[in-house]
Symmetry: C2
């Protein structure tokens, strides 16, 4: 007896008209070509033909408007403009305008456009009142009139239809529907009255205009990076982004509100709830789709979603963040990808990550529920928050990775970064959740034989060790941790923590004895297939010598910190004299970990020790380094001049690689290409060349990725600067 | 390539353990009966049989606990207690306890219970540390020990499994799983430390304990009421409420947090997004289910949902509110049903409801998008808000009726009523939406021939005219408008409006000329099938006589204000001398409206007038009165004594009624019964008697409803006071 939830007939008695939720659907019947005035008792019909004013041509003046609106990079035939800023349209009539001639421009978006809701805008150029957008005649020359139109800075964002209407005897005579005069309206980071205004020019170039990105991964003490091609200007991407909003059934009326739009976006980039763009998969079985590590950027994902309407397989956090960033920049919203190193997840909503150990000091995996991700990626969008008290505008955390516990739905934010820093968790949206991700205490519990837990160590600095984003104008990492947190131990930080606790974020207040013994583990970079050499230092700050019975546990882990397989347990014992440090050197052979590796190439070493009544432990995450793809370009680096790129790779291993896919792309240079190699023999080299013709000038980038069941995380990139034509 | 979104295998690398989301699933393997200590090198196995301490019986002491916890009314075999308050358990051992004997109680909820997350609670009665709940031995007598257990006031709410564990040689010896010792834990409005604490005893009796309700409907100037049987104590309802949480996949860990729980509830009571309880239908075609008007209470709906797992057809706002209220009270959360008369809906999120008229003064239905509901029902829950600044606890608006524009998902609240009153819209959840429902200005626009709108009248008092709920301890309406709004025109109200505007709720600032002409319409009560006599008064406050050309438009409307069918247009003209009022009497014959009636029985009359350049209008909603069902009880009104109830009805019409269903129920008295009459002839009387045996004492109520395609909104009720056994 259940009915489909979107059966609009069940709502006939609820709405005066159905709520329009589609922007890109075919809208061919906006008006009759001649619409008599309703208040005219007897419509007079057409005016005499000889004198009639009619529209001959509507020119959207792309060459003038595009550079003014910074939209020249969009690979699209139609005009793209930003709101709150004048654009021009040249209308050519059948004869020069005379006194008494009256015409108006009309811009329509979605089905059933409504003047009261801003989805039908009337622009007049005389003293007669029009819609909220302003219009003026800039130039008249013979039959041709250039009209300047300025959309309000809160105009609905999306694709508008353009009409010119002439007041003709007893009614309105309208131009025919012409899809070439359809026009895209974007958010405007250049306009001070727009909610996405970003004052700094270099930041606008980075956060709105840059279609190439860098995403940081790895761990806080060994940060790695991958290029990510946002590609927001590539062909089909702007339509794909609007299609995502249409698929979300977001009412057209709400699409001028950036806060509602980015919150909706965070829900739609993942497939949960709403058949959104990407399916999350952390299983290491990606046979039903593409492994998350194999994507080079957002373009293929968005085009696939737009073409099929079906969620794309598969993503992990950096893929969600990369695609969400494309969506935001494409619509004109300043945004960036953030990486939080040691990110606390799936808490009960409190500020504790509980790690539980057995009485012998080894991890109690059966009773430990929480995990700390080596890193987690989300996005920040730069918007004002008129819905909140002053001081909370600016960068907002939005996260499209499906979070089971964020308010029960699969979306997160916008949460003001300033609110996180000051512990102002009483404002929407999801501030408490983000606060815990960067501020949780890690509490080490010992579980006794009766099942009771006793905390024995609290680490207040492990979570949120570093928070990074790509720097403006370079590929370097910029640490933005100070925008999220006051320095550990400062009075400001204490005030923030107290305030967060007032707002219900329970902290740990376990009293733990100071320990005189501590462990640190260090390790250099390790290439995939090399042995791992760990230096374990045990410090004894006490006045008596101690013998520590210790265990080294080695596991392969996901970047989420979840253990994929446990491959080694190595007990050892160290006696540390009073006030001394002793070092134990432990070696893990490549043969020990290689059979257990999945796609993530991440090893996790935990040393747990016991001396008298004291428990101590330390962990070390080692990201295995992979060989790279070498990329080289040749030819004249100039727009519209053919160039060649060559990707080469040498199999460094003593066994062959089978079923290898290499893909590459470069926004503004080359669309997505892929090449299949059925086998790459041991130690063998391959190379692959492709030609391309640059479309955009400036600093550009090509990236490539290798996708093979036995070898993951192999990438390459090369930079090239393209001259103007 | 899309995978089901709840495919937990895709999350293997995300969670250390799957998040438990089921409370009622079969959980038969919590423990091995004997669990050796992990830190014991060689488990010693069972202690010698002769001296072994074993558990003979666990008595949940219902007769003692139920009255103390106010849970005696629940028709359920298992113990039901409230958190933050001591309950007792009597454990009978195989021999009297001796020095050195050690046992503990263990309470488990959901799969994979976790000590760190509060879903596995260890209660000790000696100095050994246990979980967060406290335990003490209250009494020892031979082999039997009475243990007092107090759950923390933030304990997880739901169904726990109870075990007694004895420390036996080298391990823990546990009692067998016994479903009769399963125990329900509820929120506790009696406990000052619980987030749902309600200090006033009479209010607790009403808002937690009363299983009978009154819901107000109609319009502000003609309030009608219907009884609604919440039935939160009826058999199967508590399990059904937990099953709703299970269906929502809400993590067990979060079910102690009342804010998360009521927000989740508001999403789950409607079927959108999540296959929740009720399918909304405002179509007037209810052939695929039961008409919203035919329900007598929540019990049938919740039992049908629990038995089938499929959403129940059909609901409108008072049904959503009635069922949500049952859910809240059943789990121990103080709650009430609120009716807002003239409720603004589906705005763009601003404070304007735009009604558009043509140049001749008649309504422009094609361009009017907004509507004002005659009334709308939602719920309030009484909870503290530790997540917000002080002053915002107390009653919170929660609304389960699916609202298309509330943050993009089908749920609403909790929004603090105090925040609505003070315009503090910067706090979660959905305050702006509720604020608009009670505060929107109604703006009357004239649409000119070019499509441009000009506002000509703003009514700031129409929306939220009255906000009512059932009074404590009686069936009367209590106006709670003052908790939502300061008086119109007061400085406080102006401050609230300004603050709301600062937080982005755009107000209307149209400048409209003062009008010297105004219209009011009045009308007495009208029975279904009677003629409607309307008195139209036109006031002229000007110094010159005016002739008004007017039109009376008659429509049948849904309670949402949406027009179902327009049946009459009656132009008339009135000349009003200076500073006078003239009355026109207009009669609408029953034959004019009867053919157009649907289920809602609501007529809408609009008078629009034009005098020189002035437009004026007024509307009047007339709810047609229906005949009632007469109910009479006989017998001894005492618990466990058989009684008889007789429902009688006389068809007052001159045509027969076909396919008539009459249903009745009475919480604590009688379960749901229904009777079919294939025909009730014109003017004929029917009667139907049923026997019942009261289960609960006190003031009780029986209600009945008639369901027929040709006649809706026919109800009856009778009160009876049942003595103790």
């Amino acid at each position: 007896m259940s009915r489909p939830t979107n059966d609009s007939s069940a709502y006939r008695g609820r709405y005066a008209e159905p709520l329009p939720t589609s922007n890109l659907g075919a809208m061919e019947n906006d008006f009759p070509e001649f619409e008599p005035f309703e208040d005219e008792v007897q419509p007079r019909g057409y005016a005499p033909a000889g004198q009639a004013l009619t529209v001959q041509q509507i020119d959207m003046c792309q060459q003038v408007n595009k550079p003014n609106h910074y939209t020249g990079a969009y690979d699209i035939e139609n005009l793209v403009v930003r709101r709150g800023q004048e654009f021009v349209i040249r209308v050519t009539f059948s004869r020069p305008l005379a006194d008494g001639d009256d015409f108006q421009l009309e811009f329509l978006i979605g089905s059933n456009p409504s003047v009261a809701k801003g989805s039908l805008v009337v622009v007049t150029t005389n003293s007669r009142a029009g819609g909220p957008w302003s219009g003026q005649i800039l130039e008249m020359q013979g039959e041709s009139v250039v009209v300047g139109v300025t959309a309000t800075p809160d105009a609905i964002v999306g694709k508008y239809r353009t009409y010119v209407a002439i007041v003709a005897g007893g009614g309105m005579q309208r131009s025919k529907r012409d899809p070439t005069t359809d026009m895209y309206m974007l958010f405007n980071a250049w306009c001070p009255a727009d909610a996405v205004f970003l004052p700094d020019g270099a930041e606008r170039m980075e956060y709105v205009m840059n279609d190439i990105g860098v995403i940081f991964q790895g761990s806080a003490d060994a940060v790695s990076q991958r290029n990510w091609m946002f590609g927001q200007f590539e062909r089909g991407i702007l339509d794909a982004c609007i299609q995502i909003l249409d698929a979300s059934r977001m009412p057209i009326y709400n699409r001028g509100d950036v806060i509602q739009l980015i919150r909706k976006g965070s829900a739609m980039i993942n497939s949960q709830d709403d058949n959104g763009v990407l399916v999350g998969n952390w299983s290491d079985d990606y046979s039903m789709g593409k492994p998350p590590t194999s994507w080079t950027g957002s373009v293929q994902i968005l085009l696939q979603y737009a073409n099929t309407g079906v969620p794309v397989c598969f993503a992990q956090c950096w893929v969600f963040a990369g695609v969400f960033n494309t969506f935001l920049r494409c619509l004109g919203i300043p945004s960036r990808v953030i990486t939080n190193f040691s990110s606390a997840h799936d808490n009960t909503g409190n500020l504790k990550t509980d790690l539980i150990f057995k009485t012998d000091g080894t991890p109690d995996r059966r009773h430990t529920r929480d995990s700390i991700w080596n890193y987690h990626c989300w996005n920040e969008a730069f918007v004002v928050r008129p819905d909140l008290p002053p001081g909370l505008g600016g960068w907002q955390v939005v996260d499209a990775t499906p979070q089971e516990t964020s308010d029960g739905h699969f979306r997160c934010g916008p949460a003001p970064v300033a609110a996180i820093k000051d512990g102002l968790l009483c404002h929407p949206f999801d501030c408490g959740f983000v606060f815990a991700e960067v501020n949780s205490d890690v509490v080490f519990h010992k579980r006794d034989r009766f099942g009771t837990l006793t905390a024995y160590r609290v680490d207040k600095t492990h979570v949120g060790q570093a928070i990074c984003t790509k720097a403006v104008g370079s590929g370097a990492a910029q640490d933005v941790k100070h925008t999220y947190k006051y320095p550990e131990g400062s009075a400001d930080n204490e005030r923030t923590m107290n305030r967060a606790e007032e707002y219900g974020c329970a902290r740990d207040h376990s009293e733990v004895a100071d320990s005189q013994l501590s462990i640190t583990i260090s390790c250099g970079q390790v290439g995939l297939g090399q042995d791992v050499n760990l230096a374990v230092d045990i410090q004894n700050q006490g006045d008596v010598s101690k013998t520590v019975r210790a265990n080294l546990a080695g596991s392969v882990v996901f970047y989420t910190g979840v253990i994929a397989s446990h491959f080694k347990d190595d007990p050892f014992s160290v006696t540390v004299p009073a006030n001394q440090t002793e070092r134990a050197m432990l070696t893990v052979a490549a043969q020990e970990y290689l059979p257990h590796l999945g796609t993530q190439l991440c090893l996790h070493f935990a040393v747990t020790g016991q001396a008298d009544d004291q428990s101590l432990n330390a962990v070390k995450v080692v990201d295995l380094q992979t060989p790279g793809l070498l990329m080289q370009v040749s030819g004249t680096p100039q727009v519209q001049q053919e160039m060649v790129v060559t990707v080469s790779f040498t199999n460094p291993y003593s066994s062959p690689l089978h079923d290898v896919f290499i893909s590459m792309e470069g926004p503004g240079l080359m669309n997505y290409r892929t090449r299949y190699f059925s086998v790459i023999e041991a130690q063998a080299a391959i190379s692959w060349s492709e030609t391309f013709i640059p479309r955009l000038s400036g600093h550009r980038c090509l990236v490539s990725a290798l996708n093979c069941r036995n070898l993951h995380q192999v990438n390459g990139s090369c930079d090239v600067t393209i001259a103007e034509m």
